[in-house]
């Protein structure tokens, strides 16, 4: 059961207990995470003892290299013991239910679960069923949420742009299937960003997306006009042809980020991508490697953000 039924991510004192989504998290908590991460980026010390004696279980029901690795590095830098479980190839294929898997892992005295799952809402489900002293961090669930990615994007933007209250931002591509887009939208809203745009063909935008507080554009040049931040979303291979899109080539022509389309944005606009990139599908190499790209710093900051989240949670027992 939830510690705090009015907000399942917080404990009774209103502090961060689980990180499941950025929706509904108070701005103070977002700033706390961003500030803590900044301290980790600034330090030269490679290892701090904040999580010494704690066990962090990386429970991945869906394959991932990058996210799992950055969580592992972050936990190790905090001196935690890290156990990686690739559940796709073990118990789930033997028919064990998700609930049984979670119960078993809890019995191994985990302190923190870092969970990735293909179904939206799975981390909520797990958080609802674990013992009250276990923390759950969502490392990506279905199309729903990828909160640490959203936070590292905010960190990156803050690093280059300082103030959110004057930013015009655009998220481009497959918003329908993107947990990154949903996480960014909630974070931008909470941090006071005045104008959030989403750009894509109607087949890749979810129903009534405006209800999330965004402006919809189907023409990329219009959508990018005068923006400060551009986030390009990954287009998964299986979406590139079929009923949602005719071909990767046509998508690139109308929604791929090329230097010429980027010219519509402000001259100092920055370009983000959650990775892994499809060069020549959603983004042109000259933009990905260009001076407006902040894609590699995103990866670096990702470790600091995950350290911040884990250390804040470990401190709120």
């Amino acid at each position: 059961m939830w510690l705090n039924p009015s907000n399942p991510q917080l404990d009774k004192k209103g502090q961060l207990h689980h990180l499941l989504t950025l929706e509904g998290l108070p701005a103070e908590i977002l700033w706390q995470i961003l500030d803590t991460a900044k301290a980790f980026v600034g330090t030269k010390v490679k290892k701090v003892p904040l999580l010494r004696g704690k066990s962090v279980f990386n429970v991945f029901f869906e394959p991932s290299t990058r996210t799992r690795t950055t969580f592992e590095i972050a936990a190790k830098r905090l001196s935690a013991d890290v156990i990686n479980l690739n559940v796709t190839v073990s118990s789930q294929t033997k028919g064990e239910s998700l609930l049984d898997t979670v119960d078993n892992l809890s019995a191994m005295h985990a302190d923190m679960f870092v969970v990735r799952h293909g179904e939206s809402g799975a981390p909520h489900f797990i958080a609802r069923h674990v013992a009250p002293d276990i923390h759950v961090i969502n490392a990506g669930d279905g199309r729903h949420s990828h909160p640490t990615q959203g936070l590292l994007d905010m960190f990156t933007i803050r690093h280059y742009k300082k103030d959110f209250s004057s930013l015009r931002v655009a998220i481009v591509g497959d918003v329908l299937h993107s947990r990154v887009a949903r996480s960014q939208i909630h974070a931008f809203s909470t941090l006071g960003c005045p104008e959030i745009r989403v750009i894509g063909p109607k087949t890749l935008l979810p129903a009534q997306v405006e209800s999330l507080g965004v402006h919809v554009y189907h023409d990329m040049r219009q959508g990018l006009k005068d923006v400060d931040v551009v986030t390009m979303l990954r287009l998964q291979n299986e979406r590139m042809q079929g009923a949602l899109l005719p071909s990767a080539q046509e998508f690139y022509k109308y929604y791929g980020l090329t230097p010429d389309k980027l010219a519509a944005a402000k001259p100092d606009a920055i370009v983000l991508h959650p990775g892994p990139m499809n060069r020549g599908v959603e983004i042109d190499s000259s933009v990905a490697d260009g001076k407006q790209s902040v894609i590699l710093p995103q990866v670096t900051f990702g470790i600091a953000i995950r350290m911040a989240v884990m250390s804040i949670m470990a401190g709120t027992k």
Binding site: H117, E119, S120, H129, R143, H144, R182, P206, A207, S211
Partner: protein, 425 residues
């Protein structure tokens, strides 16, 4: 057994009676209303002071899970739930395993149900063999075995031609066909209303057009074939409007909603509450309000429980993986009363939606209180408040979005064929 029901408020929507009147029952039949017949001596007097006395409820969709899903529920558990909810007649859809597509299966189910001596069970036969949407069932044989109508549950038809022929064949004999309007391709992989909540939660949506596209096809085929079509479980404002218009144009169709859709919306999914994983999905507030209005103005003929017992293994899963459905037999009455109170509908008119009107859809002699006819009666305390809790339910399915809700209206006695089959402790 001679029974005298004394001092209650008699509400019989079919005859328009709403007055303080006594009932006299003998040999399973209602003997007299109002004054005692000459020489009547009761074996049992039920003091109905403060209670509403109405026809036993008629539920158009209650899954008993037999045959095939006995691990989820059995006839014993679900029939007990029915009478505890005041339901004396229920129609069960053919989505069993195997589906109700053979006379033997139907006879077995009827026999099993009769031997329990509780509510009356009206099997709805499968329209196609195995509900595969390809070959017609032996409908006339199935009717002889006890089927009252034919449906395709939630299974898709291979193509519209099969549906067309099924309706033509059913119309030949005048058999009613109950159809759930949902285009399976448009609803593919969908688990929630295609609106703001699905967008926010990242759930695959079921658009309203999945209902309206199917409804449009079915309305045209109903007109074309002359089949008597009943639409099961409408979920959208647009769907209700299409049926309203069809009825106005003189088409002989009827429809129902699940009572959940008069109360809940997509917002109730909250933090992925799998008890709100229902089929059809909970839609927007606008849809809910339109369905409530359609139930009030008669566009929607009946409210049903859409009773679907699911076990914990089926619900303790991430939202999209959870089995759809909610238990409902014991909540049909209180949820109907709640709708009546909130919408300002008179009690008698509200009860018509769960008694006389569904009986008319089923074309059975039930849902009314008439001397000389079977005494199927529900007595309930309209002022009794109770909280819905898993342990308060007789059904083996404890899955309901209403856990923790305080509702009003508690069944005190249920009579079938003049026998007291349920008496609240």
């Amino acid at each position: 057994m001679k029974i005298h029901i004394k001092g209650g408020r008699l509400i019989d929507p079919a005859s328009g009676v709403d007055a303080k009147k006594d009932l006299y029952i003998a040999a399973g039949k209602l003997l007299a209303i109002g004054n005692a017949p000459n020489g009547f001596t009761a074996n049992r007097v039920i003091d109905a002071t403060g209670l509403v006395v109405c026809p036993g409820l008629v539920d158009l969709a209650a899954r008993l899970r037999e045959p095939g899903f006995e691990y989820l529920a059995t006839l014993e558990s679900e029939m007990e739930a029915a009478i505890a909810g005041g339901v004396t007649s229920l129609a069960c859809p053919p989505d069993t395993d195997p589906p109700l597509d053979e006379p033997g299966l139907v006879e077995m189910l009827k026999h099993r149900a009769q031997s329990l001596n509780q509510a009356r069970v009206y099997p709805v036969g499968a329209l196609t063999q195995g509900l595969k949407g390809e070959r017609l069932t032996e409908m006339a044989e199935l009717v002889d075995a006890g089927c009252v109508a034919f449906s395709h549950a939630d299974a898709p038809f291979a193509d519209s031609q099969i549906l067309y022929h099924a309706l033509q064949y059913a119309a030949t004999f005048g058999f009613p066909v109950w159809l759930r309007p949902q285009d399976s391709a448009l609803a593919r992989h969908g688990v929630a209303h295609d609106g703001p909540v699905a967008t926010r939660c990242g759930l695959q949506g079921v658009p309203v057009c999945a209902e309206t596209v199917a409804l449009s096809t079915m309305l045209i085929l109903a007109r074309e074939t002359g089949a008597r079509v009943h639409f099961a479980r409408l979920s959208s404002a647009e769907g209700a409007e299409m049926v309203r218009k069809a009825k106005r144009d003189g088409l002989n169709v009827t429809c129902d909603i699940a009572i959940h859709h008069a109360h809940l919306t997509e917002m109730d999914i909250g933090y992925f509450d799998s008890n709100c994983r229902l089929d059809p999905p909970l839609r927007s507030q606008r849809d809910r309000d339109a369905l409530r209005a359609a139930l009030a103005d008669g566009t929607v003929d009946a409210a049903c429980s859409d009773h679907t017992p699911v076990d914990d293994d089926g619900k303790h899963l991430p939202f999209a993986e959870a089995e759809p459905g909610a238990t409902g037999l014991e909540l049909l009455l209180p949820l109907t009363l709640k709708w009546a109170e909130e919408s300002g509908t008179a009690l008698a008119a509200a009860l018509a939606r769960v008694t006389s009107q569904p009986a008319r859809v089923l074309n059975i002699d039930a849902g009314h209180l008439t001397t000389g006819h079977a005494a199927d009666i529900c007595l309930f305390d309209p002022e009794r408040h109770w909280r819905v809790a898993p342990e308060s339910l007789k059904s083996q399915g404890r899955n309901t979005p209403y856990i923790g809700l305080e509702v009003r209206g508690k069944v005190r006695y249920t009579l079938v064929d003049g026998q007291i089959v349920y008496e609240a402790k």
